[in-house]
C-alpha cells in the first residue's frame, strides 16, 4: 500500500487549515480538464511501469488470498488487510472511517 509519508502529512496539517479558511469568501473554479492537475495537488508520483505495477498488484492479491486461506486453515479469521501480508507480517490496519462512499450506484 502506498500512503503519504509522515513529512507529507505534517506539511498538509499545516497547509490544510489555511487552505480551508481561504475558501470562505472566495470562488474557486477548477475547469482544468487535465486529470494530472488534481492528482498533482498532493504530490508528484514517480513514473510507474504499468506492466510491472500490474504484476505487483497481482502478486499482492495472490499473497493476500494465500494468507486468507492459511488463516482459515488454522481456524483464524483474517480481516481486511491494509497491505499484503505474509509470514509474520504485522496485523492488518483497519480502514479509516469514511465520510462517504463511491461505487454504490455509480453510473
Amino acid at each position: 500500500m502506498k500512503t503519504r509519508s509522515r513529512s507529507t502529512w505534517g506539511a498538509l496539517a499545516l497547509v490544510a487549515p489555511v487552505a480551508a479558511a481561504s475558501l470562505v469568501g472566495s470562488v474557486v473554479w477548477m475547469s482544468d480538464h487535465d486529470p494530472r492537475a488534481a492528482a498533482s495537488t498532493v504530490q508528484q508520483s514517480e513514473p510507474v511501469d504499468p506492466a510491472l505495477q500490474d504484476i505487483a498488484d497481482r502478486v499482492a492479491a495472490l499473497q493476500a488470498r494465500a494468507d486468507k486461506v492459511r488463516g482459515e486453515a488454522q481456524g483464524l479469521t483474517v480481516q481486511d488487510a491494509g497491505k499484503g501480508t505474509s509470514g509474520n507480517a504485522p496485523a492488518p490496519e483497519p480502514a479509516p472511517q469514511p465520510d462517504t462512499w463511491t461505487g454504490a450506484s455509480g453510473g
Partner: protein
C-alpha cells in the same frame, strides 16, 4: 418522481439529502455560513434542472426533442446544451472511446426506465439488434441560439449528466461561500472543496471516500483522500440486468454496440472536475483490463480499478491519494 428531501444541521455541519437522476444525492457543508440553507436549495434545483433537460426517460425532455430532430436544429436549455457540448469534448479527448451515441444499444437491451434498473433484479425477455458505431460523430452547435444538431444517432447523456450536476452543485456552494468545506455526492459520484469534517485532535482533515466492492458486501476496497477534488466510479453492480437470459449492463462499448466485456468490474477516477472524472471511468472501463494500466499512465489519470478477479489496481497518479486499500476483494 416526488422529491423526498431531508435536512439536518448543527453548528458544525449542514446536511441535505434528496433523490434525483435515479440516485440519492447528498450535500454536506462544514461550518455552514449564513445563507448556506439557500445554497443547498439551489443545488437541489440545479440537479432538477439537469435531470429535466437531459433525461432520456421523458420524451418531452430537451435531449429527447434534440434526438427526435436528429440532423435538424433543435433548441435546448442551457444544461442540455452544455451536456452535449461536454460530451462532444469527451468524445474527441478520448478518441471516440467515450461516445454518447449508445442510446439505441441501451434501448435495444431493454434499459428503458431509470429507477427500475436500480431497484432490484430486472429481466428483459426480448432484445433488439445492436451495432458498432462506425461513423464519425459530427454534431453542430449554435451557441448564441442555444440550438444543437445531434446527428443521425440519438444520444444518451447518462455517462456525463450526473457529473455535470455535481459540478454545478459545487460551483453554487463555492460561489455562496457556503462553508469551510463542502461535498456534493450523487450515487457515488462526488465533488468536494476544502478538507472535510473536523477530526479528533491529531487526525489530519481530509474528505475520505471509501471505494465500494463491485461484488457486494459491506467492506470497502480502498479509502481515498478526495479533498479538493472530484471522484467518480463506474460499476456494473447496480445497473445490470438479464436480457434474454444473458447478463448485461449499461456500460456500452461503442466499438461493438455491446456491454463492455474487458474484464473490469469497477473503475474509480479522481480528477478536478466531476464530469471529466465520470467520462474517464467509462473510457477506462471500456479500454478493459489489458489496456487500463497503460491508458491511465499515458493520460496521467488518477485511477483505481478492480478487475473481475477482484484484484485492486492503482495508477501512479492515484497512489498519493490512497489512504488505505486491500490487494483484492472477494
Amino acid at each position: 418522481m416526488t422529491p423526498v428531501a431531508e435536512r439536518t444541521s448543527s453548528a458544525a455541519e449542514l446536511q441535505h439529502s434528496f433523490r434525483a437522476m435515479a440516485s440519492p444525492v447528498n450535500v454536506r457543508i462544514i461550518d455552514p455560513a449564513a445563507g448556506a440553507g439557500e445554497a443547498v436549495a439551489a443545488v437541489e434545483q440545479c440537479f432538477r434542472n439537469v435531470e429535466r433537460e437531459c433525461t432520456r426517460f421523458d420524451p418531452e425532455s430537451d435531449l429527447m426533442r434534440a434526438n427526435a430532430a436528429g440532423e435538424e436544429w433543435a433548441e435546448v436549455g442551457p444544461h442540455c446544451f452544455q451536456a452535449i457540448t461536454s460530451a462532444y469534448d469527451a468524445y474527441r479527448a478520448s478518441e471516440g472511446a467515450f461516445d454518447p451515441r449508445v442510446y439505441s444499444a441501451l434501448v435495444a437491451l431493454g434499459y428503458s426506465e431509470g429507477d427500475t434498473f436500480t431497484a432490484g433484479p430486472v429481466s428483459v425477455g426480448t432484445v433488439g439488434a445492436r451495432a458498432a458505431i462506425r461513423e464519425e460523430w459530427a454534431p453542430a452547435f449554435d451557441r448564441e441560439g442555444g440550438r444543437v444538431q445531434v446527428g443521425s444517432l440519438p444520444l444518451d447523456l447518462g455517462g456525463i449528466g450526473k457529473g455535470l450536476a455535481v459540478r454545478g452543485g459545487r460551483e453554487i456552494l463555492l460561489a455562496a461561500s457556503a462553508g469551510s468545506a463542502v461535498l456534493v455526492e450523487a450515487g457515488g459520484d462526488l465533488a468536494t472543496a476544502g478538507y472535510g469534517p473536523h477530526r479528533e485532535a491529531g487526525e489530519v482533515r481530509a474528505w475520505r471516500v471509501a471505494v465500494e466492492s463491485p461484488f457486494g458486501g459491506s467492506g470497502s476496497a480502498a479509502v481515498l483522500d478526495a479533498s479538493d477534488a472530484a471522484v467518480a466510479t463506474s460499476s456494473v453492480r447496480l445497473r445490470s440486468w438479464k436480457a434474454q437470459g444473458r447478463d448485461v449492463h449499461h456500460l456500452i462499448d461503442p466499438r461493438t454496440g455491446e456491454p463492455s466485456d474487458g474484464g473490469i468490474a469497477s473503475v474509480t477516477v479522481l480528477a478536478h472536475d466531476p464530469a471529466w472524472a465520470e467520462v474517464w471511468t467509462k473510457v477506462l472501463f471500456i479500454e478493459g483490463r489489458a489496456r487500463a494500466a497503460q491508458f491511465a499512465e499515458e493520460h496521467g489519470l488518477a485511477a483505481l480499478w478492480i478487475d473481475v478477479d477482484g484484484v485492486v489496481h492503482v495508477s501512479g497518479a492515484m497512489a498519493p491519494r490512497v489512504l488505505w486499500k486491500v490487494p483484492c476483494v472477494q
